[in-house]
Amino acid sequence: MGVPGEGLAKGLAVTLKTMTRRSHTQQYPDVEPDLPPRSRGVIALLEENCTVCMLCARECPDWCIYIDSHKEEVVVPGAARARQRNVLDRFDIDFSLCMYCGICIEACPFDALYWTPEFEYAEYDIRDLLHDKERLGEWMATVPPPPVHDPNGEPSKEESAAAKKGRT
């Protein structure tokens, strides 16, 4: 049994203490929010890296990536026959469907897709949320540098593979 009215006093103390502390409000439109590293804002496309392998479109859980392409013959002087090459015609991501799982970025074997922290691309018409490859390419400028390696973490695959090669 405590002192009668102890709970009432505690309640008053909590509110008074909160009042003297800084509030948690972020003044968003006036002040840019400080987002955590690796924030998932929008997906950027580095078109030169894309080989139209379609892995991203196939892995996408809600099928929001649309890819069209055609094949082009590339004549290499001195080679026995002309080589074929995929050319990207259309690469759209429908951000009204996207659930920001990032599987497309994980799946891409050629590092053509990146996360960027930009998030101010709301639209009045839901159809405008379909970003074509030019729009996705524009986001490339906002991709942050990759975070530094955690000194206590496991070494990267490349490092450990190189170390192994050096030993044998």
């Binding site: 309640g11 008053l12 909590v14 509110t15 008074l16 909160t18 009042m19 509030s23 409000t25 003044q27």
Partner: protein, 320 residues
Amino acid sequence: MPLWLELTIRVAGVVIAFLTLPLLVGQAEHKVMAHMQGRLGPMYAGGFHGWAQLIADGVKFVQKEDVTPSAADRPVFRLAPVVALMPYLLALLVIPLGPGDLVGEPLDIGLFFVLAVVGVGVVAVLMSGWASANKYSLLGGLRAAAQLLGYELPLVLAAASVAMAAGTLSLPGIVSAWEPWWLLWQAPAMVVFFVAGVAEIRRPPFDMPIADSELVFGYMTEYTGLRFAFFLLAEYVGIVVIAALTTVLFLGGWQGPFGDEYLGWLWTLIKVFAVSFVIIWLRVSYPRLREDQLQRLCWLVLVPLALGQLVLTAAVRVVM
């Protein structure tokens, strides 16, 4: 100074206090409540930390349509907000700000007048509750009637104690008679008066008649526009009046550490704002009392406490 000029100045002063103090308290409530909840509160209106928020609200309320429900009792419904607001304006008239002539109208029965006039508030609540033709309004109105009638008793008993101690019903007289040791002697009466006063103006945690989570907005449910703003203004003026009464009756009004003659008005204002802050603080800290807890607090705690204080006051007066 001719009589008419003096009267005009006095009335103008009271009206100015009536229009500015509630706004200050309201703005303080916005900000204090926000910071107590880890927020910032209004930040845009007026440019600097949202100082003009309540003015902007007022402009908005004026622009809104004034709806009277078709089933409502029209004249009663339209009159209720004015009836809610007027008593507090009249109460401000007799509350002294400083020593000497710094009061709207020095009445010999000032305390009696204030308590009678503040009691009119219950009529406004019942009017709005009945006339709205809305079940939520009616429930809120009846709850308010039960609450206000109940809490009127400890309020009057506590005020009677201090009037007995001072030997006068005049508010300036009570302040003149007040001495610092009364803070201790009249402490139970002060607590009773303050709690009952907060219940009288239906502030949380005693906002059972409004109870927005269960009764929509109680007796104010059907009100819109300017009439709704009148009810809100009445609430804030109510805070000022209760804080001012607590100050005058129990905290020594214009008596301060120094310079009572010239700085009396400042001490009064500081005390009024401090008490208003406590009212806001209670609102943020405590949840709403249930109806039965509300009545239990009134009849089983406050009334016996006030009666005991009366006995104590009488005993001390007889001995001294």
